[in-house]
């Protein structure tokens, strides 16, 4: 299976391309390929692991093989032209399938930041992971403090990720499930309660406890059911988006300004290292999961495809859930490999639609970047520039995914573009446009 997963285990957001298919044999590839007709075959592959034709068309169909990129390409010469067309179409479709949730998440965050002032109020309260304050007298001291904060935060994240990988290696599944359930509980109930309270205060409406209790109870309980058990796909995706947005808002509020930017940069580098280097924790996680032939673990992964299991007694650890742990910080990014329990089940045939998976941590950090641009940047120019930058980065990452067909970190390219665009727009483009407007000079 050309699976690019995104183990978001705590932190490394990866992009996972799920191309699981029940059939392992090479022969089936033919069937799948020829059956790659949009209407019938549910297994719409997005990228194929064929390396031969890679150079021409980056996006290929995923083959249902689990062997990975080295599976021999069984494309017929004459079918190639058709398939290239098909694959490109699916490639674009999958990119759009990821654009929509990322955009929605960012829209929710930006809308909240612009309307509810709570999340942009200066507060001296900081997370314990960023103990150094930024209210210092000199610029140098402030910079030093933000770098120190970043170091602490990244070390916490590294430790948590390694801890998670160790737990996974030693098969302490119950512990991991419990941890994930706790963190999603906190997110779905506590953070949304706070959020609702702030929205009501902003719009100055009266609200009573019984109604709020019913609302939060319903929201949280249905969220837990959808994410951790079975529920309609749309609802599950919506909950994951909302939960990522909530987490991003918490980060935007409680991370000191300069530290936030340095942390964004550092986490992209960490992501790169953790996913691509041979000894990186996330890579080990993916490889262990692949060896054991099971889904990495129910964590936060947003999946754009559908999963269906036939005759399977699927375990309950289904849906990706937000990896936010009890602490706001631990983040999550969990794009953990999804949940397709079907992978672990050996019973009947399991078929899964191929789709692309993106870790929730990616959603969160993208939204943090755009949210901070909206909160502290000049005006809409900066926000929109960052938004476009992130989408371009995502596109490029998906392109790379099609080429390399293995788990890739989704943060580095997008965050790099986002940071560049933010700083250049804020410090160069913005004043330029303002000056032009002031002098009524139109170009």
């Amino acid at each position: 299976m050309a699976e690019t997963e995104e183990p978001g285990a705590d932190q490394a957001p990866l992009i996972v391309l799920e191309t699981m298919n029940a059939s392992d044999s090479e022969d089936d590839c033919y069937n799948e390929r020829t059956a790659l007709v949009p209407s019938e075959n549910p297994t719409v592959p997005s990228y194929s692991p064929d390396l031969d034709n890679h150079h021409e068309s980056p996006s290929r169909r995923g083959v249902s093989r689990r062997a990975g990129p080295d599976s021999a390409s069984s494309l017929d010469g004459e079918q190639e032209a058709d398939e290239e067309e098909l694959t490109l179409k699916y490639g674009a479709k999958h990119v759009i399938m990821l654009f929509i949730p990322v955009t929605l998440c960012m829209v929710v965050v930006v809308a909240t930041i612009k309307s509810v002032s709570f999340y942009t109020e200066k507060t001296d309260q900081q997370l314990i992971y960023t103990p150094f304050t930024e209210n210092t007298s000199s610029v140098g001291r402030r910079l030093l403090n933000s770098v120190l904060n970043t170091i602490i935060m990244i070390s916490v994240i590294v430790v948590m990720t390694i801890f998670l990988v160790v737990l996974y290696k030693y098969r302490c599944y119950k512990f991991i499930h419990g941890w994930l359930i706790l963190s999603s509980l906190m997110l779905l109930f506590w953070f949304s309660f706070m959020y609702l309270g702030e929205v009501f205060k902003t719009y100055n409406v009266a609200m009573d406890y019984p109604t709020v209790a019913v609302i939060i109870w319903n929201f949280g309980a249905v969220g837990m059911v959808c994410i951790h058990w079975k529920g309609p796909l749309c609802l599950q995706q919506a909950y994951l988006i909302l939960v990522s947005a909530l987490m991003a808002l918490v980060f935007i509020k409680y991370l000191p300004p300069w530290s936030a930017w340095v942390i964004l940069g550092a986490i992209s580098i960490y992501d790169l290292v953790a996913v691509l280097s041979p000894k990186g924790p996330l890579r080990m996680l993916v490889e262990t999961a692949q060896e054991r032939n099971e889904p990495i673990f129910p964590a936060l992964i947003y999946s754009s495809a559908m999963m269906w299991t036939v005759g399977m007694a699927s375990p309950d650890e289904h849906r990706p859930d937000t990896d936010e742990e009890a602490e706001a910080e631990h983040r999550d990014r969990g794009a953990e490999p999804e949940r397709r329990p079907s992978r672990g089940i050996t019973e009947d045939e399991l078929e899964e639609d191929r789709g692309v998976k993106l870790g929730l941590g990616d959603f969160i950090f993208y939204s943090v970047l755009v949210g901070k641009a909206a909160a502290t940047g000049g005006d809409w120019n900066t926000t929109i520039a960052c938004f476009v930058a992130i989408l371009i980065g995502l596109c490029l990452t998906l392109l790379l995914l099609a080429i390399f067909k293995k788990a890739l970190p989704a943060l580095p390219i997008s965050i790099a573009f986002g940071l560049v665009f933010y700083f250049s727009t804020d410090f160069l483009v913005q004043p330029f446009m303002d000056n032009l407007a002031n002098h009524q000079f139109y170009i």
Binding site: M207, T211, P232, L233, W308, G311
Partner: protein
């Protein structure tokens, strides 16, 4: 979770679990039940479990309606009379609007 690939008994099972779960003060769960299984129950050719699923969906819809009525009534009453209730009103309030009406 895609319903199309599930066998009928599992769909019935899911429908029933959602129905039973809604009794824990979860009208939203009932709503999800109705919306999700609506097509299965009304627009598909009949299958053995369809009758049972239909009853679950109908009762869930009834439950949603009932809850909607109760909640609307309570919210209306609260918004109208909150100021007049004085202390009890404040005690019940989660957020109190500022300023002079």
């Amino acid at each position: 979770m895609n319903l199309e690939r599930l066998p009928n008994e599992e769909k019935l099972n899911l429908c029933r679990k959602y129905y039973l779960g809604g009794f824990a003060l979860l009208p939203f769960l009932w709503l999800v039940n109705v919306v999700w299984f609506f097509k299965e129950v009304y627009f598909k050719p009949s299958f053995t479990e369809q009758m049972q699923m239909k009853t679950y969906v109908q009762r869930s819809a009834l439950g949603v309606l009932l809850w909607a009525v109760i909640l609307t009534a309570w919210i209306t009453v609260f918004q109208q009379y909150r100021a007049e209730w004085g202390e009890v009103g404040d005690y019940l309030s989660f957020t109190i609007p500022l300023g002079i009406p």
